[in-house]
């Protein structure tokens, strides 16, 4: 449509307008409201009172003594949750990378016709319901779940191993749920890789390990970084998996936020926590984009 139907770029905005309206109303707009709410005072039964306050942000990190409001201490409960969120997300990313790299390599080195099948097998879990997959893991690790039943029957253990409601359960669940997000970008990077370089490496007397380290890894690095970001960001934001597998004692940041809008009922604190999560996620994205830019610079230089 090169014809000057409508002069200039106005028609482009016109075509985008309906989608942008919905997105502004149901995605971007509400985020701004969260930002505003984080600077208001909490209402009695949830909600907010329209009075400016930094108390919400203050309570993210600190707590006040009930009887002496001036006695300020670090909020250890919150800090524990932050630490757990970051630590579990980091471990999830690491596990996904360790399992994902060989898996992606395996797929990338299949003959082209079977490769599609393997790729499809990785993609299916990616598109099936996260809740159902979490439920499936729950079935396996419950006290009367598959693992414990089998071990009890075999006589390996006398009483069930408690796996549910532990950090381990959350870690297992997240690794299970987010693994395809690591495999897919790694595969994409390997698919683009020039295998003649691997041959050249062997030709120049490199061992398998040396080729892996000096030839293959540098080439799939962008895939690694993309995969790590794709796993880390939803892991930091996880809500369903820790809620189902972790329960009340192994809360993550997402559950702490939700709590402020449920029984805890401190909306400004919840809003501030949500903004904190957003900052972490955007920070991770910026680190990713920087790394990407640096790699492109290296390639050009």
């Amino acid at each position: 449509m090169r014809g000057p139907l409508i002069r200039g770029n106005g028609w482009k905005w016109l075509l985008c307008a309906p989608a942008l309206t919905v997105l502004l109303l149901a995605a971007s707009g509400p985020l701004l409201i969260v930002l505003v709410y984080s600077f208001l005072s909490p209402g009695n039964m949830g909600g907010v009172v329209w009075e400016f306050s930094t108390e919400g942000w203050f309570r993210v990190f600190f707590r006040r003594d009930i009887f002496e409001p001036d006695l300020v201490t670090l909020n250890h409960a919150h800090l524990t949750v932050f630490w757990r969120s970051i630590w579990l997300s980091f471990q999830t990313t690491l596990i996904c990378a360790l399992l994902g790299f060989p898996t992606a390599w395996f797929i990338a080195t299949r003959p082209p016709n079977t490769r599609t099948v393997w790729l499809f097998l990785i993609t299916i879990p990616f598109w099936t319901n996260l809740l159902i997959r979490t439920f499936a893991i729950q079935e396996v690790i419950r006290n009367n779940g598959t693992i414990n039943t089998v071990l009890l029957r075999l006589g390996v253990i006398d009483s069930p191993i408690q796996m549910m409601f532990t950090d381990f359960a959350v870690l297992l669940g997240m690794a299970y749920v987010f693994l395809p997000l690591m495999v897919l970008p790694l595969y994409a990077a390997m698919d683009k890789m020039d295998f003649r370089l691997v041959e050249a490496g062997y030709d120049l007397y490199a061992s398998r390990l040396m080729v892996l380290w000096h030839v293959i890894l540098p080439q799939v690095k962008p895939g690694f970084i993309a995969g790590s970001i794709l796993v880390f960001i939803p892991a930091i934001g996880a809500y369903v998996t820790p809620r189902v597998l972790g329960g009340g004692r192994t809360m993550m940041l997402g559950n702490l936020i939700a709590l402020q809008f449920g029984q805890g009922r401190n909306w400004p604190l919840g809003a501030a926590l949500a903004m904190l999560m957003l900052i972490v996620v955007v920070g991770a994205l910026i680190v990713y984009l920087r790394a990407l830019g640096r790699m492109e610079g290296e390639r050009r230089g």
Binding site: M1, G3, W11, L15, C16, A19, L20, V22, L23, L24, L25, A26, A27, S28, P30, L31, I33, V34, Y37, L99, P102, T103, F106, T109, F120, L121, I122, I124, P125, W127, N129, L130, L131, F135, A136, I137, E139, N144, G145, T146, N148, Y176, V183, F195, R208, V211, L212, I233, P234, G237, Y239, V240, I257, A258, F261, G270, A274, M277, V281, V282
Partner: protein
């Protein structure tokens, strides 16, 4: 013979890890499906084959209600999102770069980048405020929220399809006396169909899967299948849940397979 030769693509141990990974991915799902056919009430002790739990699921009125609501919501949100995404894709891929394009990209992709829990509570706050003002408590909020969430997913395959579309085809149509509208109807739209179908299917699956946003936006009595399941998981569950999950899984599988087939025949 080929196996004996020195393959540069083989790294010892990687095959074993890959097999382990695939087993880990599929074993829990296989167990889940298997025990949906269990005759007894246990999800770990096999007591014989039975369709009993499927029967129970079908007779469970609540399950029927939430399933229908989920499907209706997914169909509605995905349809609206597909139309809006198609328009936006046409606006952003036709006629070169323009000022403000980055802002539009950022807005469209925003639901992909912001954690669902943040979007969820943001919508909770927003919807609560509107409810107080208007008193409206219908499905409109969920439709709106799901539509916004589906737009980036519907947008991706449509834009990808538009970008591979040769701009010379539209020029050729114009050269052969087609008006801009005729060129769109006879050339662009038919060639865009695989992208649009793929976009709709992605949107549909995403809406079906969405649990966090629904959980925070829904009013009383507006449970969808995922939020219903989330609520049930707290209790001791019977294989009825497995049966529901299996059916749900089968539906997703069907759509994903169709999606693969549609996107693979795009070469035509």
């Amino acid at each position: 013979m080929a196996e004996k030769s020195y393959s540069v693509r083989r790294i010892p141990g990687f095959g074993a890890v890959a097999v382990f990974t695939f087993a880990m991915l599929y074993l829990p799902i296989v167990i889940l499906v298997l025990f949906s056919f269990n005759a007894g009430p246990s999800q770990s002790v096999w007591e014989g084959f039975s369709l009993h739990w499927y029967e129970a699921a079908f007779q469970n009125r609540q399950v029927r209600d939430v399933s229908i609501r989920s499907l209706w919501l997914a169909a509605t949100a995905a349809s609206i999102a597909t139309v809006l995404a198609t328009l936006a894709a046409l606006g952003t891929t036709r006629g070169g770069r323009f000022p403000g394009q980055t802002i539009i990209y950022a807005l469209i992709n925003q639901p992909l980048m912001v954690p669902e829990i943040v979007t969820g509570i943001a919508l909770l706050i927003f919807v609560a405020a509107i409810k107080v003002q208007t008193g409206y408590t219908g499905m409109g909020y969920l439709v709106m929220a799901h539509t916004a969430f589906c737009i980036p997913f519907a947008y991706l395959p449509i834009r990808a399809r538009l970008e591979t579309l040769d701009a010379a085809l539209e020029s050729a149509a114009a050269d052969l006396y087609a008006s801009p509208v005729q060129a769109f109807v006879h050339i662009t739209l038919p060639l865009l169909v695989p992208g649009i179908v793929a976009g709709f299917m992605l949107g549909f699956v995403i809406s079906l899967d969405t649990v966090v946003i629904t959980e925070f936006v829904k009013s009383a009595g507006q449970d969808t299948l995922p939020t219903y399941m989330l609520g049930q998981l707290r209790r001791t569950v019977t294989p009825e849940m497995n049966a529901i999950a299996t059916l749900f899984l089968a539906l997703s599988l069907l759509i994903v397979t169709a999606f693969f087939l549609v996107t693979r025949t795009r070469g035509r």
